[in-house]
């Protein structure tokens, strides 16, 4: 069995390698320290199995799966220290995973399952379902903007505030305004509730971009952002904003 080990922490990579080398019939063909390297190695080496760390800088484990075509999917064993979204999805879709630090017995069991005759088409389908489920359930990381000329992504941490404008939403960043066709409620549901908060019927703000809150009369707030922009938080949303900002 030809295997690739992907993890951004060197000791974690070495541990997995040491454990795998003791098992019969496992050959490690590459070790990668990030997602980009993993995609390249998988395409080039066509391994049978990839031990794929979930949390990695840059492209993470799920981005790697998304970037590959289903025909390129090797068997995948996800490895994670802690990720409540992911583990639930792995369970539901019967995708192999290991929780760090794992026992040798657990690794053996996983390898045993991989050795059984498996329908690779079916495995790839389950893998895609799991990844899709994680990507839709965990908070949005980027918003895709479509213009007649091009399609590009805005990272959510760059967004200062979001404003409703008719059938569109305006995403305000420090340097630009992007228009997307989506409803306030739909976007709000997919954003990280610990970071984005509704401050008005037609406004959402990124709490990390708030510099100051000034109370005014009637329980409203003036919200000053680092960019210098000032927004008004209506009374209905004031309590949620102050708890979130102060937590």
């Amino acid at each position: 069995m030809r295997a690739i080990v992907v993890d951004d922490e060197p000791v974690a990579r070495r541990r997995l390698r040491t454990l795998l080398q003791r098992e019969e019939g496992v050959e490690i063909v590459a070790e990668c320290e990030d997602g980009t390297g993993a995609i390249e190695a998988i395409r080039r080496l066509r391994p049978d199995v990839v031990f794929l760390d979930v949390q990695m800088p840059g492209l993470d484990g799920f981005d790697v799966i998304e970037a590959l075509a289903p025909s390129e999917h090797p068997a995948i064993v996800f490895v994670t220290a802690y990720d409540r979204y992911a583990v639930r999805a792995f369970e539901v879709h019967a995708v192999d995973y290991l929780l760090k630090p794992f026992e040798r017995e657990r690794l053996r069991k996983t390898l045993g399952r991989l050795g059984e005759h498996r329908d690779s088409h079916e495995a790839s389908r389950r893998l895609q379902a799991a990844v899709e489920s994680v990507l839709t359930h965990r908070p949005l990381r980027r918003v895709v903007v479509r213009t007649p000329g091009r399609v590009y992504a805005v990272r959510v941490e760059e967004i200062d505030s979001i404003h409703a404008a008719g059938h569109y939403l305006e995403l305000q960043t420090a340097t630009a305004t992007h228009l997307i066709r989506e409803s306030m409620t739909d976007l709000e549901a997919r954003l990280d509730p610990a970071r984005f908060v509704r401050i008005h019927r037609s406004m959402i703000v990124n709490v990390d971009r708030i510099r100051e809150l000034q109370p005014t009369f009637h329980g409203e707030f003036i919200v000053s952002l680092h960019s210098g922009r000032r927004l008004r938080c209506s009374r209905t949303y004031a309590e949620k904003l102050t708890t979130l900002w102060g937590s």
């Binding site: 922490e9 000791v11 974690a12 541990r15 040491t18 220290a81 941490e157």
Partner: protein, 354 residues
């Protein structure tokens, strides 16, 4: 601003109500005074004369309150305050009595009779009473303010401790650290042993939260050391640490746990979110009577590396509570990419216990 306006409004309300109550009480006194002088007033007119007497104080009291706040009777300035308040009491009293006489004459057609020295005494007494009430309520407010600040300090320290605890007990950090120890056990038993001890030390300290607001920088750095060596073991060559601590800064007092959120932030943005090696630096130096601490990371060359999380906001509020305007904290993009956090504090040393 708003709070001030509310306070001024409330003072006016309380003063107006008190003086009106005094006027009601003194109505019978006015009636008797006039009766002794052989003039019978109706109770309504007696009330009006009493109102003229006391509501004039409501008009004049802002001036007296202002004077009382401006020239206060503190231990070292009571002589100066007396020198101001004796003549100003006489002037305010004279103005008040003149206005009162004119208004009373306007209403009754004749002045208030008999004009006794008792009236002058009472006028001066009222002036000093307003000064005294202002003085006492000022003291009361200051004591309340001190109490509020002490409470705020306490709560922001508690929050910093909770943040530190969350950082050390963060499942991702904890399980990855355990995994690193598991890996090291097969390669280098000594290193695994050391790391386990450091993790234990880190966890132990989070359970022993003391109520100490400030401690010497050297102690704060010791606290950081366990955390940093664990991160160093996890990330290996990817984490390039540089710590430059000027020797004479080691004894300077810094707020407890002030550096932890900064260093955690630097590692998260400098190392954990991007591939390849990254540097995290901590520098401290004394500039005159100031202590300046920089925490830098060479993370993504974008302003988004600045995430003003709760830890950062708590730093600001603790500095404000401990030093007022005498300390500053800035977080901005580094010219060469990444971010730099600058703490600027008064360089204070622990008082030697005798």
């Amino acid at each position: 601003m708003i709070e001030n306006r509310i306070r001024v409004g409330r003072i006016w309300l309380v003063a107006g109500a008190s003086f009106t109550a005094a006027a009601l009480l003194f109505t019978s006194q006015v009636w008797i005074d006039f009766a002794y002088a052989g003039r019978r007033l109706s109770w309504g007119l007696a009330l009006i004369v009493a109102l003229i007497d006391w509501e004039l104080w409501a008009l004049l009291s802002p001036i007296v309150v202002w004077l009382a706040l401006r020239f206060r009777f503190s231990r070292d300035r009571w002589a100066a305050a007396t020198a101001i308040h004796v003549p100003s009491g006489i002037v305010v009293g004279a103005v008040k009595l003149t206005l009162e006489a004119m208004l009373t004459r306007l209403v009754l057609g004749y002045g208030r009779t008999p004009f006794s020295f008792l009236k002058i005494d009472l006028t001066l007494l009222t002036y000093w009473l307003i000064v005294a009430v202002t003085h006492v309520s000022g003291h009361y407010r200051e004591a309340r303010e001190r109490e509020r600040r002490a409470l705020q300090l306490e709560s922001s320290l508690a929050r910093a401790q909770v943040e530190a605890l969350k950082m050390q007990l963060h499942p991702h950090f904890l399980f990855n650290t355990l995994n690193t120890i598991a890996g090291l056990m097969r390669e280098d038993v000594e290193a695994a042993d050391r790391m386990l001890a450091k993790l234990a030390e880190l966890l132990r300290r989070t359970f022993e939260t003391a109520d100490i607001q400030e401690l010497p920088l050297a102690r704060e750095l010791e606290f950081l050391d366990d955390y940093l060596s664990i991160q160093q073991a996890r990330f290996g060559q990817r984490l390039q640490l540089s710590i430059e601590v000027q020797e004479l800064t080691r004894t300077v007092l810094v707020p407890t746990l002030i550096l932890q959120p900064l260093v955690e932030n630097a590692i998260r943005h400098g190392i954990a979110v991007r591939p390849g090696p990254g540097g995290v630096g901590i520098q401290s130096e004394c500039r005159g009577d100031r202590l300046v601490i920089n925490v830098t990371n060479d993370g993504l060359p974008l302003p988004l590396t600045i995430r003003e999380g709760f830890g950062i906001r708590n730093i600001r509020s603790r500095l404000q509570a401990l030093y007022g305007e005498d300390a500053s904290f800035q977080l901005h993009p580094h010219p060469s990419g990444g971010a730099i956090a600058v703490l600027d504090l008064p360089a204070r040393h622990p008082v030697a216990e005798s």
